[in-house]
Amino acid sequence: MEAPQYVAARVQQALAEDGRTHELGIRVDIRGDQLFLRGQVSGPEQRERLGLVAHEAAPELHVHNEINVVEATEPGEDEHLD
């Protein structure tokens, strides 16, 4: 059986290199037959695509898509640099 670290590395590479996603900052963790995706993206469709590409790269694992969508909201407080 392939070591989980190599599977995680392969999934992470797929997320970065697959033309549908090209997402570099996603953390991939594998525990047994469970695969966890964590990180932040700018839209819900990108999150879904990442789940799909991860599933295709490791179809034998159950994917938990825990990626957050960061909505660009109101600007916060100003910072004064002096």
Partner: protein
């Protein structure tokens, strides 16, 4: 020292716009002219660097009511269409820096902005050097020539304030939260050294989505990581105080 004499800089990076969020980002910029005098964008405007995405970003940024300056990020280079994307942005009224500088009139002051994409290599004591294989030498010399261009541009510029706009980080403090193993791909101390030598009031960068907002160069110049996932808001606003109020 009144608030009226502040130069207000809105900044963000890594907006990574795609078709599914068309219109959303622009809406979050409503009223930016009441909050800031200038808008600086620290690269990674697209996801895959396609021309289609470049046009989408240009449409989202077109005709903003305050001067807008951008650099590109590594994602914007992915399809080898960085020139075309920069042209789309320029056509939409965005000033795009490519290892050069510009002086803009903002809040009654002259603001000099110098920068470009930047590049990696790592940080002092734990970095690549121009030694060995051609591939490694090319990697390091790419960063070195960028740093030299910024230093020259900073020295040349005449303005009340000078800000450096980069995609890659000049320091490691603002990478805090990223795995240490990838620091050499997130920035280079050569960028900080160049800016410390020439002098500036503030350095803005993106790229490290899991990094931290605030840090400082060894020379004491404030650094802010304005990657959208780090900020968790549409943009940050930094106020530079003008001394002769």
């Amino acid at each position: 020292m009144s608030i009226l004499t502040d130069l207000r800089i809105a900044a963000v990076g890594d907006i990574h716009l795609g078709e599914d969020v068309r219109g959303h980002y622009r809406r979050s910029l409503a009223g930016i002219e009441d909050r800031a005098d200038v808008f600086l964008i620290a690269g990674d405007l697209t996801r895959h660097g396609t021309l289609q995405e470049g046009k989408l970003v240009a449409a989202e940024l077109r005709g903003l009511p305050i001067p807008t300056v951008a650099v590109l990020g590594n994602h914007d280079y992915h399809s080898d269409l960085e020139q075309e994307i920069a042209d789309e942005l320029r056509d939409a009224g965005v000033i795009v820096l490519d290892d050069d500088g510009v002086v803009i009139q903002a809040g009654g002051r002259k603001l000099g902005v110098v920068g470009g994409k930047g590049f990696g290599g790592g940080f002092a004591g734990k970095c690549a050097s121009e030694f060995g294989e051609r591939e490694i030498k090319n990697f390091v010399s790419h960063t070195r020539s960028i740093a030299e261009a910024w230093q020259a541009a900073l020295k040349e510029i005449e303005a009340d304030h000078r800000v450096v706009l980069s995609h890659y980080s000049p320091i490691k403090e603002t990478l805090e939260g990223e795995p240490h193993e990838i620091y050499p791909f997130l920035g280079s101390y050569l960028l900080a050294e160049a800016v410390d030598t020439a002098g500036a009031d503030l350095i803005l960068h993106g790229h490290a989505h899991k990094g931290s907002e605030k840090g400082m160069t060894p020379g004491g110049i404030r650094v802010r990581n304005v990657a959208l996932p780090v900020l968790g808001r549409a943009y940050a606003v930094y106020c530079l105080t003008c001394a002769d109020a």
